[in-house]
């Protein structure tokens, strides 16, 4: 048989039903979009989550749960029950095998964004993602006591620029408790480049500045009648008394367990140290239910869309029963009818998947800045995961099978109907 003629026939038949078929392609495109999109978001969510800290061998804090320590030290969520003394931080630096210690002091905020007191070592040693160091988008690190370096999201959301003066509030959270540090305003000296991690939401000041704004405070409240203004505070002893946690880097990663043991047995104070990777995994186990829900949703979406595809083709088949019977009377064999339908099904599936991928890419390009700004989530659309390929292959096979079933039914019908279809 003349294959070219059959192809032409398939095309003209399809063109004749182009609106129904366009709907089918749209539904396949939509399910491709959903499946790949959900999988992409899931993967990038996990990677942006686990990229929050890297290059740090141990996180040290007061005794608490390891997930809790990770949450407040890295994600700046929640509060520490206890601080660690400055002397302990100094002792940490002297431990054998320790290369660097970055103290972290938390507890204040600026319009809901956390304020982190730290040292210059933070900018040297902190790593996120795949060992990426922090970079300044504009300006420089804090040099003056009242300098602040803010994260990219904080800067963009609040529209801050270099040199602008901001005040910090005591405590975390949006709600002002009436107690603030407006007497000691800070000047924005630098804005960090975007990282997609909690750093973007953080205002960084020096430990001395942290001490200075609390110099006239005791136990979380300003001392009545004792007001020390910003310049006077500069003259005070600004050595920090305590910090919230510390990031520790080692000369040799192999020593991590021995250092961890030494910290956990620290004599002067009850300390604990955690391996960030292990704690991240534990934390992911907690929030991972959401991930599993997403995966389940993907599966359901796939199932529903395949069923939709099949029902669209099956419904279209009744409409075509007459056409197929005519083809049979003029000599088309049942196999040719089967081939015609299977060809149409696979072309529709391919077109739908192609359209879905294009839509995903277009959407990703359009929405990435917004996703980044509102959720700190960067979609890596160029990257593909093994599961994505599996899903694509699954879609292709399912789409093709979904078109084969109606083709098979058409084949059976064309045999049973004979030349006069009973409709």
């Amino acid at each position: 048989m003349n294959a070219g003629f059959l192809l032409g026939l398939a095309w003209r038949s399809a063109w004749n039903r182009r609106f129904t078929l366009a709907l089918t392609v749209c539904s396949i495109a939509l399910s491709t979009f959903m499946l790949l999109g959900v999988e992409r978001v899931r993967t990038d969510l996990r990677s942006s989550f686990s990229s929050a800290v890297s290059g740090t061998d141990l996180i040290v804090g007061a005794r608490t749960g390891s997930v809790q320590l990770l949450l407040y030290s890295v994600f700046h969520v929640g509060a520490a029950t206890n601080n660690i003394r400055w002397s302990s931080v100094e002792a940490l630096e002297k431990l054998r095998g320790v290369a660097w210690v970055v103290p972290l002091s938390l507890g204040d905020s600026h319009r809901g964004y956390p304020v982190l007191g730290t040292t210059a070592a933070y900018f040297e040693h902190f790593r996120y993602g795949e060992q990426q160091p922090l970079a300044l988008r504009e300006g420089q690190r804090f040099s003056d006591l009242y300098d602040v370096v803010i994260g990219a999201e904080l800067a963009d959301k609040l529209g801050y620029r270099l040199g602008q003066r901001i005040t910090l509030a005591h405590g975390t959270g949006e709600i002002q408790l009436g107690a603030d540090h407006s007497d000691k305003p800070f000047t924005i000296s630098g804005i960090l480049a975007r990282t997609g991690t909690p750093v973007d939401r953080t205002a960084h000041i020096s430990l001395e500045a942290m001490q200075a704004i609390h110099v006239d405070w005791v136990a979380g409240a300003p001392l009545p009648g004792m007001k020390i203004d910003a310049d006077a505070a500069r003259a005070k002893d600004l050595t920090p008394r305590s910090v919230t946690a510390a990031l520790v880097g080692l000369h040799n990663r192999a020593a991590v367990f021995s250092v961890q043991r030494q910290v956990n047995r620290f004599g002067d104070e009850a300390l604990m140290s955690i391996l960030p990777g292990v704690a991240l995994d534990e934390l992911w186990d907690v929030v991972g239910t959401g991930e599993k829900a997403l995966l389940l949703m993907s599966g359901l979406v796939a199932l529903v869309s395949m069923a939709g595809l099949m029902s669209v083709i099956l419904a279209g088949l009744n409409e075509r029963r007459r056409e197929l019977a005519v083809l049979r009377t003029v000599g088309a064999g049942p196999w040719q009818v089967l081939a015609l339908l299977a060809l149409e099904g696979s072309v529709l599936t391919l077109a739908g998947i192609g359209a879905g991928i294009l839509a995903l890419l277009a959407c990703g390009l359009a929405l990435n800045p917004w996703l980044q700004a509102s959720f700190g989530l960067t979609l890596h659309l160029g990257q593909t995961t093994a599961l994505q390929w599996l899903l694509l292959a699954g879609l292709l096979v399912a789409g093709w099978l979904a078109s084969l079933l109606p083709a098979w039914r058409a084949y059976r019908l064309s045999l049973a109907d004979g030349l006069s279809p009973r409709i």
Binding site: M1, N2, F5, L9, R12, S13, W15, N16, R322, E323, V326, L327, R328, T329, V330, G331, A332, G333, P334, W335, G418, L419, S420
Partner: protein, 237 residues
């Protein structure tokens, strides 16, 4: 008597799952070029008999031979080939692929059957001209030939279907109530054209209808209930 084109002997057919025979016919012959009017009330098995004659269905027992070839001796795809080579078919309605032009619809059997393509080409015209010839034989002018089928009236569609059944001059044309959707005037014109075109093609015509008024125009009239012993058995039971 001319050569037997169709030869039915001791045919028995029952639909699957049915205990009762639907058709039980001792003998039925159609000669080459003969025109046969097959009538009977609705549901008496006329369409089923047509399907058996065209080799779409196979009888449980007995012989149905077309052009000397017994349908039961052929495999499924050989039956498909033999059918398109030797049988032209006209339905009650909806005969055409709506997205093809009238002429392309007429040429369809030539696309699938080399034998009918060769027969059409033997008349020393191009395939297109041959299609036009049968269209004009059915009273349709060249302007209709290039119109898409869905733009045609029902009467025009039936004429295109007849032209398609006749192209390549198959031995047998089977028409299953092709005039039931036409009014009286159109029906008569259609019959005139169909009968003269069949005569020109030398094709035998088996024409099924319940409309007895047109019966005299055919060479022979066959009443299905009379030749169907299964129906007689039902009446006496």
């Amino acid at each position: 008597m001319a050569a037997r084109l169709l030869d039915v002997q001791d045919l028995r057919f029952a639909w699957p799952g049915s205990a009762q025979d639907c058709l039980d016919i001792a003998a039925l012959q159609v000669a080459a070029g003969e025109t046969v009017f097959l009538h009977g009330p609705s549901g008496c098995g006329k369409s089923t008999l047509l399907s058996l004659l065209a080799g779409v269905l196979l009888p449980q027992s007995g012989r149905v031979a077309l052009d000397g070839v017994h349908w039961g001796d052929l495999g499924a795809s050989a039956r498909d080939r033999h059918r398109v080579d030797h049988v032209g078919y006209i339905f009650q309605q909806f005969n055409l692929l709506p997205y093809l032009s009238a002429l392309d619809n007429v040429l369809l059997p030539c696309r699938f059957s080399p034998r009918r393509r060769d027969a059409a080409a033997r008349s020393a015209r191009s395939l297109r001209a041959e299609g036009q010839h049968w269209l004009s034989g059915m009273g349709l002018d060249a302007a209709v030939a290039d119109k898409p089928a869905h733009m045609l009236s029902v009467g025009q569609q039936q004429r295109v279907a007849a032209a398609r059944a006749l192209i390549g001059q198959p031995g047998l044309v089977v028409a299953d109530e092709p005039t039931s959707a036409l009014d009286e005037d159109r029906r008569d014109v259609f019959l005139d054209l169909l009968l003269s075109a069949c005569a020109e093609a030398g094709s035998a015509l088996v024409f099924v209808s319940h409309d007895r008024r047109i019966a005299p125009r055919f060479g022979r009239q066959v009443s299905l209930p009379q030749i169907n012993r299964a129906a007689r058995g039902l009446e006496t039971a």
